[in-house]
Symmetry: C2
Subunit: 340 residues, 2 copies
DNA sequence: ATGAAAGCGCTAACAA
DNA sequence: TTGTTAGCGCTTTCAT
């Protein structure tokens, strides 16, 4: 009962025909090759019966195509990335592509390794939220005509398709919401990073503060695997400054959640002690008491654009040389945490 | 500057030696084959210079090994699975294995497809939280000597290694916590499912209720991709019954979060109107007001056991025939939601 | 309309 | 110690 893995040769032999014919039939090129319908039927029937499955490794080796898309996110356990990955997986699957995902941890070397692994496995296209420092590797992909779509952020020196949100406008608006409520000492707590999305978020905050003639209060913490190491510096900052601050804008969902944990520990009440807005929306923010105002990223729209861009390249609907930038707007979900 | 993909033959030719020698050297079998150190050095230097990378597809095709582990979770956007996937990925990576993950959606057919894809790609081992109905496919893997480790649940009719938690004891204890606080009308809200972990959780609740001479209140909702469709039946149930109930035990983190959303909509206050305990721990539960008592799964321990079990099989440290069951205990994080 | 044969890049048994 | 060679399973050109 152990199914011996059978190959195209086995089935050709069993049917006393050549493997070429089998190959053509299996690849739907029977008509084109004018193979008799009768033969086609016989082959299909046999294949069905014995449950033959082509070895896609051999196929890939021969054709250079794999029908696999490599997806690299920063951290698959981050709900934002997990949700995006999920949607992309679904859409890809429906279009005959499989997805392999990996977490980069924003680690340049790990990412280089992963790109290499994807190349090894002959993935047909790449989707990534790139860390800094991989410009060369990505350019090398592009030079080899491998389509790459970036999202969440992009690499300024690499000319690829990318789908991002209007980060600067989002934090600008969020900061203004706080300013209009009369808050004057507004902090921006975020990850330290030179990535485009982070720079833009910071810039939006700074511009709104500057336009209002206020002073900036910026705390950047280093991204760490271990959440406690993120909470620690936030704790110190809030602990030292919460009396002179009246509002906080968090730069990412992760920082936001850590911030809320700090508030809990310090017994800080929202919005009375500190008003709060966070980037990204998330269960926690909706269920928190009071509910937290959040800058929601349109996850479906991002995922949709990303996969469409890539599929178009893969199906040669768009020229590889033709690079698109898509900027999708965010949605401010105003809730009680930012009100008076 | 476009790197022409070079092969082992190219490098053999450039160096005027045979590809066999190159292959042996590249695979660290130089010593074993008593290849001169000088040659080894020359080859390594050249390989380094031209940045040669072996084509792992060809390698896999030839050896049948891929150094890839296939990981199938129910839904990668569920924080429990995302966290486990993350940890497994890390450990595997450190041991020279790559991970490919996929979401099964508890969909039998999709899972069969995915298993097929993994087989196609010659993954060396399988880790899965299996849906029902794939017994045959898994048995087929086992018959072909492919190691399979299950976690979160197992298939009663399939003899594989698996790592699970003591589900029954956990809900039993959680229910007792509520009973000891004097709650008498305790509901159990969970997903309808015949999976082992769900059956066990239900059994634990029922036993505790029976032992206390109380009446069960069970609401099972169907798992759906779309969260609103999960919330709806919970809303109806809670809306109809909350007056006669005094406590609720949620069967999974997902149900728990949906439940909290329902409470918010109905203005139900915790624990005064309803005391709450949920399976799985999660940011939301810690940050909720009041913090929610939760049955925490020891994620690291589960991931560690899973990957260790599989690596042992892959490295032939354990016989394939030798099946282990590991049951790890959960941790009750008692918080204000279950108190009086 | 069908078949033979080369070759994708690699490994390993066997020769030398 | 190193080289020759036969595949792994598939696609595709070129004959027939």
């Amino acid at each position: 009962m152990v199914k011996k893995k059978l190959s195209i040769v086995d089935i050709a032999n069993s049917l006393n025909i050549s493997k070429t014919s089998v190959s053509f039939i299996l690849n739907g090129r029977a008509a084109e090759k004018r193979i008799s319908e009768e033969l086609v039927a016989r082959v299909m029937k046999f294949v069905e019966e014995v449950g033959y499955k082509p070895n896609s490794l051999a196929k890939s080796l021969r054709t250079g195509k794999s029908n696999i898309i490599g997806l690299m996110v920063e951290d698959i356990s981050n709900p934002f990335f997990a949700a995006i990955a999920r949607l992309i997986e679904d859409r890809a699957y429906k279009n005959g592509y499989k997805i392999i995902y990996c977490s980069t941890d924003n680690d340049t070397n790990k990412t280089k390794d992963l790109i290499q692994m994807f190349r090894d496995r002959h993935v047909d296209g790449y989707i990534m939220a790139p860390p800094e420092g991989i410009e060369e590797d990505v350019n090398d992909l592009l030079k080899n005509n491998l389509p790459v779509v970036m999202f969440d952020r992009y690499l300024p020196n690499v000319d690829t398709d990318h789908v991002v949100i209007d980060n600067k406008a989002s934090t600008f608006k969020a900061t203004q919401v706080l300013i209009k409520q009369g808050y004057k000492d507004i902090a921006f707590v975020t990850f330290s990073s030179e990535q485009t999305q982070m720079n833009d978020r910071l810039a939006g905050y700074e511009q709104a503060i500057a336009e209002a003639g206020l002073k900036t209060n910026i705390k950047q913490v280093k991204f760490q695997q271990n959440e406690d190491l993120i909470i620690e510096p936030i704790f110190e900052y809030i602990n030292e400054n919460h009396k002179r601050l009246d509002a906080v804008l968090f730069g990412t969902n992760h920082v936001g959640v850590c911030g809320l944990k700090v508030f809990k520990r310090l017994g800080i009440s929202v919005p009375d002690d500190l008003a709060v807005i966070s980037f990204d929306d998330y269960d926690v923010f909706q269920l928190y008491t009071p509910p937290v105002t959040a800058i929601a990223q349109p996850i479906e729209e991002i995922a949709d654009n990303v996969i469409t861009l890539l599929l178009n390249k893969l199906n040669n609907k768009t020229s590889l040389a033709d690079k698109q930038t898509i900027i999708v707007p965010t949605i401010m979900n105003v809730r009680a945490s930012s009100g008076k």
